[in-house]
């Protein structure tokens, strides 16, 4: 059985069983390793991707449920050569230390800004409340999201 998934605008195939968490398929079948494992239990947010524009935890989402969905990962947001405004803002604020939480935070922030481009600081903090960071990059990430909210938007 081959499953087809639309990831970052490209349709890809995986031989994974339908109950396989999306996280392992992204990382191991598609080499999209920007999506991270932190807990496997929905507690940390490191594995967050957007599914049809909504943040979802890839560690808890079976691929079988996603065959008709559009999946966006941190790699699909932009690249070093063509960064998304959120990525550019994260660089401008130097908003990462180890960088493990960063991808999940940025894709969750994209969902927030798409919905609410003028999100306030407290709205940003609330939107990212379930995203853990051990290095203490929180305030820089918040500043980056606010900065991106002010930047010209691109989808």
């Amino acid at each position: 059985m081959v499953l087809r998934l639309n990831v970052n605008g490209t349709v890809r195939e995986t031989a994974a069983a339908a109950d396989t968490p999306l996280l392992y398929v992204l990382r191991n079948d598609f080499a999209l390793t920007g999506t991270k494992f932190g807990c496997g239990a929905g507690e940390c947010g490191a594995c967050t991707v957007l599914v049809d524009g909504r943040p979802l935890r890839a560690c808890r989402t079976p691929v079988g449920e996603l065959t008709n969905a559009r999946i966006l990962t941190i790699e699909g947001l932009g690249s070093a050569a063509h960064p998304h405004p959120l990525q550019a803002a994260a660089l401008a604020e130097q908003a990462a230390q180890c960088g493990w939480c960063t991808g999940g935070m940025l894709v969750a922030a994209k969902a927030l800004l798409d919905r609410n481009p003028k999100a306030t600081e407290s709205e940003v903090r609330t939107a990212l409340a379930d995203h853990l960071c051990r290095c203490g990059s929180h305030n820089r990430i918040v500043r980056a999201v606010l900065r991106a909210g002010r930047a010209p938007r691109r989808t």
């Binding site: 396989t20 968490p21 999506t35 507690e43 130097q94 180890c98 493990w100 290095c135």
Partner: protein
């Protein structure tokens, strides 16, 4: 897969000019580290035996520089800062400096990346090495251009004579072979690093070189390394410390698809699969299909402090000044207090992991270890193979705060890889395993006693700390202190720490000596030898608890003396840098805060990290909900004097991170356990500070470009904890001496001290 790079080829084959340099143990003692051209045989010696050099710096035939260092990136921006230092001294653009880091086949053995020491030691030595290499290049240019060296200028790797003729580093280095590098002429003037006024790169906020990949998902962490033919590994841990594996029902996994191999060796049990999710499933199935016996009984949590006080210990007097600290001057007020800090978890968001492959008996391991050379030795001992047949290559993980499971994962991966020669294996820990089996920062208890005379000065001070060692890294313990090694030999017990002679050490004593002018003081460490929970280094080691205790007690003495906590500290401080950070933090924070009404509490904490490191003063502003007992830290102002700041934004980020992590430890964190083992095994059981709860952090950097650099990664933690505890006391009158400052403890302290609810007003108003 076998490492094919010959050691000498790394440097010699590429040509160019190389200098090797030494780290100096204490900067203050020897302000000028040595740097000299590398002799051919030194290169091999640097990676084995006793190294003539700790690191190398090369100018290649392309005119670019490469730094070969054993220090590694922990997500703290170190490699960016080192590149800045090299570029500064070489007069090169910073992006013309490549850093090769943490690979036992490619760099010299430079020791661990720990203790906020890297910028202090490697940075200082690199500065000298860069200056030496630049001088060698300028000498060559002087010869070729026939112009005295002191008339030449260098900019962006081009040496220019007054008449406009120039030679690029590329041309100067192209024909040089490191084996034939002559030392500088004996009559050449001594090489000095650049004076502060001439610096153009050090002291500027160069962006971190690792961040573009990290914000785009392109970074390759150790957990992302995927050589062709990769197998995925998981390990089945015992249910508790010390348990021994009795039986495994292999049938439990026989129906699972594509399980490649089950590896059992003593009490070590692991599984390899073609797909990662299958390895995860197999682990879960095996946990149900194994039986274990025995196991260590842990002390009851409520008897932990008694256990620490009564267990066998080595006692060291760390510091003693003046006569008997117990004798009281007339009219003195005497106070005693006991402070506690629980076991704290590293709780990095990334799980420990490693990639290993055995090829022809040669083992290659990608690891997030903070010391690849010590790990190589420990792996050799555990696997009974020569360390020279092992290559350890550092790769980043998501969060390195001390000795977590990174080193353990390397042995796990190696044991699994040994079962499938030629195939690479990626081993990763699960979350419950990470919480249950990584070493913790040890629980600590600190007793303080002191007296304040009628003159308002501290007459006597005594500080007594009980703690396990904080030094259990590979290389710091008698046996290869890697988790699976205990399981292989069947003892399932941690190796004892390397038996230290009767001297201090082990980290529990860090910052136990107060930074104040105290003519009569006695500082004692009881290093508790019984280690019921697995412990090792966690960011700042014993400094966190010692500073929390000592600085809380300073406030208690100030209150007894009727003095303002800031003024009381300043009255006992002659160190001008200490005074400067305290005054800077207090000024920025608006000390002593608004008065009366429902004002938030301000609290202060100060330390000079590790006694010789950065001076740090923190002022925390807290609000305490008297009904729920919840403490909210709204803001932390933190002033830091770390000498020469290499990268102000990088330093600020480290300090912010230290403040936030310390706030989390202080308000939230305690490892939970019962008699049978660790019970906090998830982020739900072990909550850390979240985005809405994080304080704003206001960093005040005091740059002293003429002074040596001091590391900042660990310096903020103790002062932050003390500032928060002191702020809670200022806001409520409730003094809490046990971390974390949970709502239950706050309510308990409020109930116990209703009459003390307004001491600040009496003192200040």
């Amino acid at each position: 897969m076998r490492a094919s790079i010959s050691r000498r080829a790394v440097l010699a084959g590429a040509g160019g000019l190389v200098v090797g340099f030494m780290l100096t143990p204490a900067i203050a003692a020897e302000p000028e580290p040595t740097a000299a051209p590398v002799a051919a045989d030194d290169i091999a010696a640097d990676q084995t035996g006793s190294p003539p050099h700790d690191a190398w710096l090369r100018i290649g035939p392309d005119g670019r520089a490469t730094l070969f260092t054993g220090k590694v990136e922990l997500g703290h921006g170190l490699l960016t800062a080192l590149a800045q230092i090299a570029a500064e001294e070489l007069d090169l653009p910073v992006d013309h400096v490549t850093v090769i880091s943490g690979d036992t086949e490619r760099v010299p053995n430079e020791g661990a990346t720990t203790g906020s020491r890297s910028i202090e030691t490697t940075g200082a030595a690199l500065r000298q090495a860069g200056a030496t290499l630049r001088a060698l290049l300028v000498d060559r240019a002087a010869e070729r251009l026939d112009v005295p060296a002191d008339r030449l200028t260098v900019r962006d790797g081009v040496v220019t004579a007054p008449d406009g003729r120039s030679l690029a580093y590329a041309a100067l280095a192209a024909d040089a072979a490191p084996r034939s590098t002559a030392p500088r002429r004996a009559d050449a003037p001594a090489v000095r690093p650049k004076p502060a006024a001439e610096r153009r790169i050090v002291g500027t906020a160069v962006p971190r070189r690792d961040l573009p990949a990290k914000v785009t998902g392109a970074a390759r962490f150790v957990q992302d390394i995927a050589p062709d033919g990769l197998l995925y590994g998981r390990v089945v841990r015992p249910p508790r410390y010390g348990a021994v594996l009795d039986t495994v029902d292999a049938d439990a996994v026989k129906d699972l698809p594509r399980i490649v191999v089950l590896v059992r060796d003593g009490s070590f049990l692991g599984v390899l699969a073609e797909r990662e999710e299958q390895a995860v499933q197999a682990r879960a199935a095996l946990r149900r299909a194994t039986t274990w016996s025995g196991g260590t009984t842990l002390p009851a949590p409520d008897r932990l402090w008694e256990h620490l006080r009564t267990a066998p210990a080595q006692t060291h007097v760390i510091d003693q000044r003046g006569d008997d600290v117990a004798s009281a001057p007339a009219g003195a007020v005497a106070l005693t207090a006991s402070y506690r800090k629980p076991y704290v978890a590293h709780a990095a968001i990334a799980p420990p992991a490693a990639v290993a492959v055995f090829d022809d008996g040669f083992l290659t391991v990608w690891t997030a270890s903070q010391d690849v050379f010590a790990l190589r030795e420990a792996l050799g001992a555990a696997l009974h193979m020569p360390a020279s047949d092992i290559r350890c290559i550092h790769a980043e993980t998501g969060g390195s705060f001390g000795q977590d499971g990174a080193d353990d994962a390397a042995l796990d991966a190696a044991l699994l890889a040994r079962a499938v020669p030629g195939r690479p294996v990626r081993l990763q820990w699960e979350r419950d395993e990470t919480f249950a089996w990584s070493p913790f920062g040890p629980a600590m208890m600190v007793d303080l006693a002191g007296q304040v005379g009628r003159d308002g000065r501290i007459a006597t001070w005594s500080h007594t700390v009980w703690s396990n060692t904080h030094a259990m890294r590979p290389g710091e313990a008698d046996e290869p202190n890697l988790l699976a090694a205990w399981q292989l030999d069947g003892t399932a017990e941690a190796a004892p720490p390397r038996t230290a002679p009767a001297t201090a050490g082990g980290g529990a004593e860090r910052n136990a000596v107060p930074p104040y002018d105290l003519p009569r003081r006695r500082i004692v460490e009881h290093r508790v030898l019984d280690m019921p929970l697995r412990v090792s280094a966690l960011r700042s080691l014993g400094a966190f608890a010692n500073v929390f205790a000592g600085e809380s007690f300073m406030d208690e003495l100030a209150r007894a003396a009727g003095a303002d906590p800031l003024a009381f500290r300043l009255a006992h401080l002659s160190d001008v840098h200490a005074r400067a950070v305290l005054e800077a933090a207090a000024r920025r924070a608006g000390w002593p805060g608004r008065r009366g009404g429902n004002r938030p509490g301000l609290g202060i904490g100060f330390a000079r990290y590790r006694d010789d490191g950065a001076h740090v003063a923190a002022v925390a502003e807290v609000a305490v909900d008297r009904r729920s007992g919840a403490v909210r830290v709204a803001r932390v102002v933190i002033a830091v004097d770390a000498g020469t700041i290499v990268n102000p934004d990088g330093a600020a980020a480290q300090i912010e991170g230290g403040v936030i992590q310390a706030t989390s430890w202080t308000l939230r964190e305690a490892v939970r356990f019962d008699a049978t083992g660790i019970t906090s095994r998830s982020f739900a059981d072990y909550p850390i500070l979240t985005m809405p709860e994080v304080p704003s952090v206001d960093v005040v950097l005091i740059d002293r470009p003429e002074a040596p650099s001091r590391g900042v990664g660990e310096a903020a933690l103790g002062p932050t904890a003390a500032a928060i505890a002191n702020a809670v006391a200022a806001a409520t009158g409730a003094r809490i001496r046990e971390l974390p400052l949970t709502p239950a403890r706050v309510l308990g302290a409020l109930a116990a001290s209703p009459s003390q609810s307004t001491p600040e007003k009496r003192r200040r108003g």
